[in-house]
Symmetry: C2
Subunit: 176 residues, 2 copies
């Protein structure tokens, strides 16, 4: 089972919200997520295009590994996630040599529209984004691109970089 995912920058989140609701999207939930990203002690995840994250959602914590992206347009990749009981997981990662590299703080509204999951995101320090996700056995990213286009989002707004990469870039710009 693949998780096909696409993300784009949004100028006006409320306009997008109205559009998807008109199409029949149902509001699912609102979450505040704080993601702490780690780099590997022996390889550079920025180069291998992997990610290791501890996500805090309200009082729950999840450890997630993401493998390299499979194509150049979408964010499709292998992903494994396990719930962990408490912050001790972070200490264990640090003792194993994993280094904390960045935090991404996200306010996310989830919607469902047929077999699409739509997320309207506000990212601290970065702005607004829309993500669309679909689970499927077959890999057909065009479907997601077309859906974004139907919302008036142009192809050049598609953002393949992760929030982590964008946060790290914004950080590095601060230094210059």
């Amino acid at each position: 089972m693949l998780e096909i995912e696409i993300k784009a920058r949004a100028e006006d989140l409320e306009e997008l919200r109205e559009k998807i609701v008109k199409l029949g999207a149902e509001f699912v939930k609102k979450q505040r997520q704080v993601d702490t990203y780690f780099n590997h002690p022996g390889r550079d995840f920025a180069k291998t295009d992997e990610a290791l994250r501890i996500r805090k959602v309200d009082d729950d914590l999840f450890l997630t590994y993401k493998g390299p992206k499979l194509d150049r347009l979408t964010k499709t990749r292998e992903e494994f996630e396990v719930k962990v009981a408490d912050e001790t997981a972070k200490i264990i990662l640090k003792r194993l040599g994993f280094r904390e590299v960045a935090k991404v703080t996200k306010s996310r509204d989830y919607y469902r529209l047929s077999d699409f999951e739509i997320m309207l995101d506000t990212i601290e320090g970065l702005g607004y984004f829309i993500e669309v996700e679909k689970r499927a056995d077959e890999y057909r990213p065009e479907e997601l691109v077309e859906f974004l286009e139907s919302l008036g989002i142009k192809k050049d707004a598609i953002e393949r970089r992760s929030y982590l990469e964008l946060v790290l870039e914004a950080k590095s710009r601060e230094y210059f």
Copy 2:
């Protein structure tokens, strides 16, 4: 807070059980534990004297990191443990480059005697052991050694190697 711990080989587990019960030890619980040990992708835990383990106790899973031992007689070391929801934790460790090195299967009876925790262990392929553990702010291992001696266990039965090390040694002997 330190976890002071000592372990010794036992010839007769039932004789030991009678002795500690006579001293007032109370039976706490019986557990079957299956421990899967991993080695680090970038350093050899056998050399650094660390350990990373996933322990299965009945249907619960725990991820545990153990730091290097602090002295030559006891097993005192830093230890961090977090409950994980399911076996996905193993897949994540493998994707991060950790390699499964051995399994230790243990039947363990827990007893409590004042501030000592006493464990009577049967280890698949290794035999019988007694472990005594105490949590304390101050590091005084002599107390545990004296307690073992009071049970008739001689100093040369004290085993500082971990079950993992003993299982790996037994395995390597099979090849010669």
